[in-house]
Amino acid sequence: MSAGQPFPGNIDESSEQFTVSVSRSIRATPERIWRIIGTAEGMRSWMNMLNWQARPGGRMLIDSSGSTEAERLLVFGRVLQIEEQRLVRMSWRVLHEDGRLWPDSTEVQISLEEEAGTTLVRLVHSGFEKLAQFQVDAYSVYHHCWVQAPYLQRLENEEGARA
């Protein structure tokens, strides 16, 4: 991940609850964006996917070696749901360069919603609670959620009560 320009889209509220959710309006039709999401060539150019089968049960494979990630990762998964020009949901599991494998899959959903002349694209990455022990053992993992979310809420309440 790089520290680039300020993100012009939205970090959605659910991100605070330890599911990553970001959205952005893009000046293109859902049909145009689907030419990226719905094709192997498009996903190669966008996500560096080596394999993308845009059908239910289809396979997904990403090799991060060409990205800015310090560590090489292989990301793999399957298409769980796909609705043309509207939605794709896929499982997302990572194999680290040193052989560590996420013990379970997370889930990534990309949804498109047509607005006046633009398309709202929303990316939601969820399921990190399944990786709790893995995160403890090897913390170069993406995300976390598990027990911290209720803790944080209660801690905030406690801090609020003290203030």
């Binding site: 970001v22 952005r24 293109a28 964006i33």
Partner: protein, 106 residues
């Protein structure tokens, strides 16, 4: 990820230590002896050991009142964990930017 966050994860990996945090959040600051009374199935030295690990992870802070030492929950390390989450928001935000560049430049 910093050593402090590493310690935070390791401290939270243990179910008893999460219960100790729960207990302190629910009932407020306590002495180690009071805490031990909430965990009758665990020996007092074991509770003290868990408290020490939580303190070393920065999740608890010990404050002295007279001759008594009270354990307080300290939220700072979890805020650090939250910052880590935000890195991944950045990853997906960057991907959205890449997508916009791909389709808007036509």
């Amino acid at each position: 990820m910093s050593m402090q966050t590493d310690n935070t994860y390791r401290a939270l990996a243990d179910g008893t230590r999460r219960e100790i945090l729960d207990c302190l959040l629910e009932h407020g600051p306590m002495r180690a002896t009071d805490l031990a009374a909430h965990f009758p199935e665990i020996s007092r030295p074991a509770v003290s050991r868990h408290v020490r690990i939580l303190r070393e992870a920065g999740l608890l802070e010990e404050r002295t009142r007279g001759r008594e030492r009270w354990q307080h929950v300290r939220p700072l390390p979890l805020q650090e964990v939250q910052q880590w989450v935000r890195r991944y928001e950045r990853f997906w935000s960057d991907k959205l930017e890449d997508l916009a560049r791909l389709v808007e430049d036509d």
